[in-house]
Subunit: 350 residues, 2 copies
């Protein structure tokens, strides 16, 4: 028997080669199948054998190759998570929770961060080449992109968005219902003229929120409604408020912003530039329930997304569909949690 090399060989390019199970077997003086048994969950190996193999493995820096195992089992144990740029403060929390949920089930997250929500085309090929087992996306794929992913037999779950035309699983917060609550409360408190601050044009979430508010306002017979567009960020919240006042000719009774961060921008602009008291002179509401919405200076009246239940459901739904690809799509909508903050005059809670 040849004396085994103590450290992994170098390749022609001078890089160190990673140790294989054969190197470990040679150094430990055992069979390769014994090495496999030691590293396989649930397989039998004596304590002495385990110690001998682990000592050799440590010396060589060897560990089982999850990637190679994935090629054999046809499972990479990785899922793609697609987010668009986090102008929206609400996503970091979602991302950490999702990563932790998947991690508990032994699944890793391959992260794709888009500049804009409409940039999905750039990442579809990549995620397929990495053989992800599933895709969880907070950006909307086109029907063509979806077909490409489906053709590769990879289940998809939409996060906080859904598609009426497409058979895709989704978990979301019921945006329309949340907006209905906000509108109903504001109207009940006597507000008659409204400003709406929407988010980026390619955000489905923003469109749903805007339509939810507009439909409910129409339902209530409110016709004095002015709409302006932002990008979910604080600065555009400020700009949008000024634009709203100009377009409307005067400040409206209430402003409905598509997210909390823009609502905060509106509050600052209303107070600092227009000298308005919030909620004395004007009511301003948001959506999401992000951390800064709770800061005492803003205390935003909003609808909080039930992030924990949403991330748990999304991870479970995706993992179920990886296990059982024949499961039919499922759409889950969670009610948001009304937050009666101090940024709006509302009727007393019932």
């Amino acid at each position: 028997m040849n004396k085994p090399t103590k450290t992994p060989e170098k390749t022609a390019k001078g890089e160190r080669k990673r140790a294989t199970s054969y190197d470990v077997a040679a150094l430990a003086g055992v069979s390769q199948s014994a090495v496999s048994r030691v590293f396989q969950d649930g397989a039998s190996a004596s304590k002495a054998m385990r110690e001998r193999v682990m000592a050799a493995a440590d010396k060589l820096g060897y560990r089982p190759n999850a990637i190679a195992r994935g090629l054999i089992t046809q499972r990479s144990n990785m899922v793609a998570v697609v987010i668009s740029k986090l102008t929206n403060l609400y996503y970091p929390e979602v991302l950490v929770q999702l990563t932790q949920r998947f991690s508990e089930r032994g699944v890793r997250v391959l992260l794709f961060a888009l500049e804009r929500e409409s940039d999905t085309g750039l990442v579809v090929e990549q995620m397929l080449q990495y053989r992800v087992d599933g895709v969880l996306t907070a950006a909307m794929f086109t029907p063509e992109e979806l077909r490409t992913i489906e053709n590769a037999h990879i289940p998809v779950v939409f996060y906080n968005r859904t598609s009426k035309d497409q058979l895709v699983s989704s978990v979301r917060c019921d945006q329309e219902e949340g907006e209905r609550w906000l509108v109903d409360e504001l109207v009940a408190a006597g507000h008659r003229s409204f400003g709406i601050v929407e988010g980026p044009a390619d955000s489905v979430v923003s469109i749903e929120r805007k339509m939810g508010a507009l439909n409910e306002l129409a339902e209530k017979g409110i016709t004095d409604v002015t709409t302006v567009s932002g990008d979910f960020g604080y600065e555009t919240g400020r700009r949008c408020f000024a634009e709203l006042v100009q377009k409307h000719g005067s400040p409206p009774d209430a402003v409905i912003a598509a997210n909390d961060v823009m609502a905060i921008g509106c509050i600052d602009e209303a107070r600092e530039v227009f000298g308005l008291a919030v909620p004395g002179d004007i009511s301003i509401v948001g959506f999401d329930g992000v951390g800064p919405a709770r800061y005492a200076a803003y205390d935003v009246t909003t609808v909080r997304q039930p992030v924990q239940r949403m991330t748990e459901s999304a991870a479970s739904m995706l993992l179920e569909r990886i296990e059982n690809p024949e499961l039919s799509p499922e759409k889950r909508a969670f009610s948001g949690i009304p937050v009666r903050g101090g940024s709006a005059r509302l009727p007393a809670a019932k």
Copy 2:
């Protein structure tokens, strides 16, 4: 020649088998090496051949396997990015920027999210089993964990933290320098009693900031210093301010918080509960330069981290070391950018 199946076969378990390059070759009626050439960057293939192969590949949902290619090239083209729970609002921006920088170089991010910074032990084995090419970490590994990663010949770059005892590459914001600037300005403006709000005990960043402030205060001959501990979050900022006043017997002249979010908590508590004017009665400063620090109600005096330069450097340093493992470790410290916000009385800018 057998008529090729049009859709991938099913395995015994009823799962669809992914199409291979052989299936594509059979359906297109070309050789397997022709298929390889079409999918290989820079390899030659006629337009007709390309179209024929792509049509067959589309039909079968085939694409080249980045994972299998990684086994051959010994490159997974994945890097691990380790973050701890994002109580700190500053990380989402970092994470998106890092992911985009790596993506520009064809490298994917495998995300590991820790509950606490000291939970690194849970992820080391995982990242090694997934054969990541490198590790970028915003949590501190123990010397033993680092040795394990080094033994696997995987380069590591610390993000916004460094180790005095260990030879590891790092990119960070110079925390001590930033704190020196804050202390010098506050002292020059006449503040004589100080409160320090530190972050979680296992955060190196918090420790460096606290020590930076304490050392500079000692240097300036200031002895009236009270310290309390939070967790980087808004709520503990509020609690810490109350604790500080109690411990000190009265509000100090100035409060130095280990991050902006806790500074915002201190400002709200000072105003709402103690009826103090900020900065009329008390100056409160933070660190990081996160979005909410710019909100008009707070306008926090702080030190902004140069996130774009830091993420660019971190990604480049890691990729260089993946290319050339013999490169010696390098430590880069970037100066933070002083932000003279309205939350502190400072001498006029020179």
